[in-house]
Subunit: 345 residues, 2 copies
């Protein structure tokens, strides 16, 4: 049996802001019969995740070497790896059976071929919607949980600032921080997002596009200084946060979306502040949090069930919507976790 | 009984590179008889330490607020706090007797009046020269030891880069790192200093003034990348080190001398590298290392006795030499720990 598999590819390397013209949908005939002895698994994708960091693999090799070293460079015409949930169509791996639900690394497409060594695992929905297994119970959630608890090392009642706070990770960080009785302020790019953050329990939130002097803005929201900054954006927001940081403050650098598409856009931190205030700035990736995965997963399931953590989801429909969904991330068009629903089941 | 006390003051705030004209020697009559009930201690200074960080207190308040918050601003005409060793002349504090040797926070002058709450303690020479108690056994040593072992968290055999490696702290960091079997490269500003570093046991060293592309230079000295960077200088050296850093690399920011006297001189780190390489950048001050002081002190005494650690000292004579000694730090005129010998005993 054969199907037509439509999947997203880049048409060229993307070194500036991504545009829809950088992508196209490729159609390919995919045989659903495995060659004898093959250990491949073919899955039908249901939901795929759309994440800003994916831009870093789309660049030309030399412009983002450290990113390439983590995930390998992406060439035009190749399927693009992404987290997602999927259903097994055919399996050469005895641990997976037809119709098993799985989650892990698939591709931006209708079908993915998972090679031996690929990173998928069986998925038990545990009563949650499929989309939760792409957002708060998957890499976004683990990024928020590990980044906050393990990298920020927060103490009860500390003052926490989250940038891109209505994004896939930020809105979860703020809610974890509230569960630790922290004072939490988030920033976002529209008044609607700001209102949403307050509804999620953030103590305060502001629209950074309406502010002209970020240092003064943060001073207003944090008259007693910032203890923890969860950075999703980099550049001048990072500078401003450092300048408002308390002694022994911690900065978890989760991502720097404002720097991803412009190599000239950089934070110029005041290192004298870093010394005298004994600030720690730490980059991290959720892949390093395997040691706390079990704790993350059970804690987050509990909070989702009790309603203490409310996920924000932003779901588009169909493989054709992926390029626009991805491009939109860099214009703040998403509210919460951006994903694309490829198929119902 | 009265003495004439000569001490150094600033004539104005110093917001750029310090020059000798910014300083003058003030003479004052000092009574060596304490008022009844006074708990003051008057000490005669023997050696005082000359450190780059002292510039940060000499600036106008607004230009170095975080530094001021640690040590308080310095006004023109005031005695300037500095670490040193001294001898008690008269004491209103029953814990200290005339002729006791002490070490701790004194001033750039011939005599210092230590008020109650001042930070001095009795000094047992333990067979070492007085100067060792200003250098490797005092704040420079603790800064090197704590900065390296506690902040850098080095593992045996890791690749360590030290800037300003022939400075008061750098030359000790390199030697501690060699004792942990690390591969250690230092940079300094003259060929003589480079030769000296190699004699101290650094695996390699280079004269940064003869290099034009610092990223390429570090790539040459660290073909396998840098695991630990002990930063004493900031700016482009920090950028270059980050760009050559291995995954999970650590940067201990001890000082940023190249940025102290020029607010426009800054590091512009590539935060994408910081994220993907999971780099930690941490500022610190030796004052935070009280928990490891005993360990530092006994370990360092042992190494000094066995000759495994060799201090580099750069000693000028007399209170009049302090301004030139201090100004010289910012032109790399010192080799090793800069101090001024005020009196023989």
């Amino acid at each position: 049996m054969e199907v037509t598999n439509r999947y997203v590819v880049i048409t060229e390397h993307v070194d500036g802001p991504p545009e829809e013209r950088h992508f196209k949908i490729k159609s390919e005939t995919l045989s659903l019969e495995l060659e004898s002895g093959s250990k491949d698994i073919i899955v039908k994708n249901l939901y795929v995740s759309i994440d800003p960091y994916q831009i870093n693999r789309m660049k030309s090799y030399t412009s983002s070497q450290s990113a390439m070293n983590v995930a390998g460079p992406l060439n035009s015409g190749e399927a693009i790896a992404a987290n997602g949930v999927a259903k097994v169509v055919v399996s050469g791996n005895p641990e997976f059976q037809k119709d098993d639900l799985v989650s892990g690394s698939v591709t931006w497409g209708e079908y993915s071929v998972i090679k031996p060594g690929g990173s998928i695992r069986k998925l038990d929905l545990l009563g949650f919607p499929l989309s939760y297994h792409v957002g708060p119970l998957a890499s976004s959630g683990l990024t928020a949980y590990g980044g906050f608890f393990k990298v920020c090392k927060p103490k009860r009642g500390e003052k926490v600032f989250v940038s891109a706070a209505s994004g896939s990770v930020g809105h979860l960080v703020g809610q974890y921080a509230k569960l630790l009785d922290c004072y939490v302020v988030g920033c976002a790019g529209t008044d609607e997002k700001v209102a949403l953050l307050k509804k999620l329990g953030f103590d305060d939130a502001f629209n950074y596009k309406q502010e002209t002097d970020m240092k003064a803005t943060l001073k207003r929201y944090f008259p007693e200084g910032i203890d923890v900054y969860f950075d999703n954006v980099g550049a001048e927001m990072l500078e401003a946060a450092l300048s408002n940081m308390n002694v022994f403050g911690r900065v978890a650098v989760c991502g720097v979306i404002s720097e991803y598409t412009d190599r000239n856009r950089r934070a110029v931190p005041d290192m004298i502040d870093v010394v005298y205030k004994r600030i720690t700035i730490q980059g991290f990736i959720y892949l390093d949090f395997t040691d706390i995965y079990a704790d993350f997963f059970s804690t987050t399931c509990d909070h989702l069930r009790s309603g203490k953590i409310k996920p924000l989801e932003d779901i588009s429909d169909g493989v054709e919507s992926i390029p626009a969904a991805f491009v939109g991330l860099f214009h703040g068009r998403n509210t919460g976790k951006k994903m694309v629903k490829i198929a119902e089941d």
